[in-house]
């Protein structure tokens, strides 16, 4: 009972920094880490128009699903994703984009260094992903200037993601 009370009190307090999301069915277990929005790699956009231009959470979900569908068949980079937990990748990318675009989401994935440290990603491969993201945003009908707001947030993560 005491432990339940502590959990009930601490839960909402901790959720701001330790919002561990429920894994989706099919996700593989991962080594424990401390979840934090800091892991998203950038501060969220403050202009609410951008989230609207991405058609909110539903639009972001479609963009991420389209993006993942594209990269896993892109001969330049599909090898990177062969060993990936795609269920988890889709979920954490949706969280990250939603958070960065100022949406009502928390990012619960690992930070960019940890998430990419063993993948040996090159600049060319990073750019190949950017191209697929641009195509996915085109398909969703996000205006180019609004697309650039997201890419401007993601671009500096190149320093953490590209290790080769």
């Amino acid at each position: 009972m005491y432990r339940f009370c502590v959990a009930a009190l601490a839960g909402p307090l901790l959720s701001a920094t330790l919002a561990m999301a429920e894994p989706l069915p099919g996700e593989l277990p991962v080594d424990p880490y401390e979840a934090s929005n800091e892991n998203a790699g950038a501060a969220p956009l403050e202009n609410p128009d951008v989230f609207v231009a991405f058609h909110g959470q539903a639009g972001i979900d479609r963009i991420v699903d389209d993006l993942v569908d594209r990269v896993i068949v892109d001969p330049r980079i599909e090898g990177i994703f062969r060993a990936s937990d795609l269920v988890r990748l889709r979920r954490t990318l949706k969280e990250q984009f939603c958070y960065l675009l100022g949406g009502p989401c928390d990012y619960t994935g690992r930070d960019m260094v940890e998430a990419h440290k063993d993948q040996g990603i090159t600049m060319r491969e990073f750019n190949a992903l950017v191209e697929s993201l641009q195509l996915a945003m085109d398909t969703e009908g996000v205006p180019f200037a609004m697309q650039n707001r997201l890419i401007a947030k993601l671009a500096p993560m190149q320093r953490d993601v590209v290790t080769r």
Partner: protein, 297 residues
């Protein structure tokens, strides 16, 4: 295998040379050289001097589609159709590891039927050869979106004009010269804006086509570029380039243009501009259409 002393020395020398080259060309020699990988338009177009840039201003971007692990190259053909002259430039450039750029271009200024009015034969053509090198020294124009630091490059451009005797008669001190420049280029992605500034130390008359030097010494001249990205394939903008005014027989003005560059695909970029090259060899208001095709990998 039995090696004679002399062949052993020779072989060792060759191996040393190969190792030295490999250490320059490939700091991590075990990796393969990769072609391609840059995003559309981020290699820039080719300036009339052959340098990666806008049309008349060098940018800090390195030509070619290569990334930091590769090699790339471009070739260009540019024509500027003016009321009294035609300017043509063609050439090629190599990009190494998105770090070093080397380029060559040949420029001509065809006086056409204007020649006789200048006391020259009909169709008299000024021309020059241009060799250039550029190295990126700081920053990343595309990925440094969380910092104000632009991509910065320094470069040198050697120009050797033909018809030295005539150029001397026109008041030029030399028929060849070296320009030095520092260029800063910044992509402000959140605003879809490209900003560029270049400082060029030069004494070239009409970019060197009318020789080098005259009434004043070499000095530093500013150049600026502004572009707005309409899509990942299309950028529109303008450029301004201050120039020396060294020849007593004719006034020389700044160059400027309003441009659009369109990346047809990874290999080809088409550019069109309205260029204002001011007064050239006493003929004022030289404004006209600039067209350029750049191909590369």
């Amino acid at each position: 295998m039995a090696l004679t002393p002399s062949s052993a020395i020779r072989n060792n020398t060759i191996l040393c040379c190969i190792a030295f080259w490999a250490s320059i060309a490939s700091p991590s020699a075990a990796e393969d050289i990769e072609p391609g990988g840059k995003l559309l338009l981020t290699r820039g177009i080719s300036s009339v001097d052959g340098t990666g840039g806008g049309g008349i201003v060098p940018w800090a971007l390195i030509t070619g589609n290569e990334t930091d692990r590769g090699i790339g190259a471009t070739a260009h053909l540019t024509s500027v159709m003016l009321p009294d002259f035609d300017v043509v430039s063609y050439g090629a450039g190599i990009g190494l590891r998105d770090r070093l750029e080397m380029s060559y271009s040949h420029q001509t200024l065809d006086t056409g039927s204007t020649g006789p009015k200048l006391g020259l034969p009909d169709g008299y053509t000024f021309s020059q050869n241009v060799l250039a090198a550029k190295v990126r020294i700081a920053g990343d124009a595309v990925y440094g979106q969380d910092t104000w630091l632009p991509q910065i490059a320094i470069g040198a451009i050697y120009k050797k004009a033909d018809h030295g005797d005539l150029l001397a008669a026109l008041g030029a001190e030399d028929d060849d010269g070296v320009e030095f420049y520092v260029s800063a280029t910044k992509l402000l992605l959140a605003q879809s804006l490209l900003l560029g500034a270049t400082l060029r130390y030069t004494e070239a008359n009409q970019n060197g086509l009318l020789g080098f030097g005259g009434t004043s010494d070499a000095s530093i001249y500013p150049e600026v570029s502004v572009g707005y990205l309409l899509s990942k394939r299309l950028i529109i903008g303008g450029e301004y380039r201050a120039k020396p005014d060294n020849l007593t027989f004719a006034q020389e003005d700044a160059w400027m243009d309003l441009f659009a560059a369109y990346a047809i695909n990874d290999a080809m970029t088409m550019s069109a501009a309205y260029a204002d090259l001011g007064s050239i060899a006493t003929f004022d208001d030289q404004r006209g259409l600039y067209l350029s095709l750049q191909v590369g990998f």
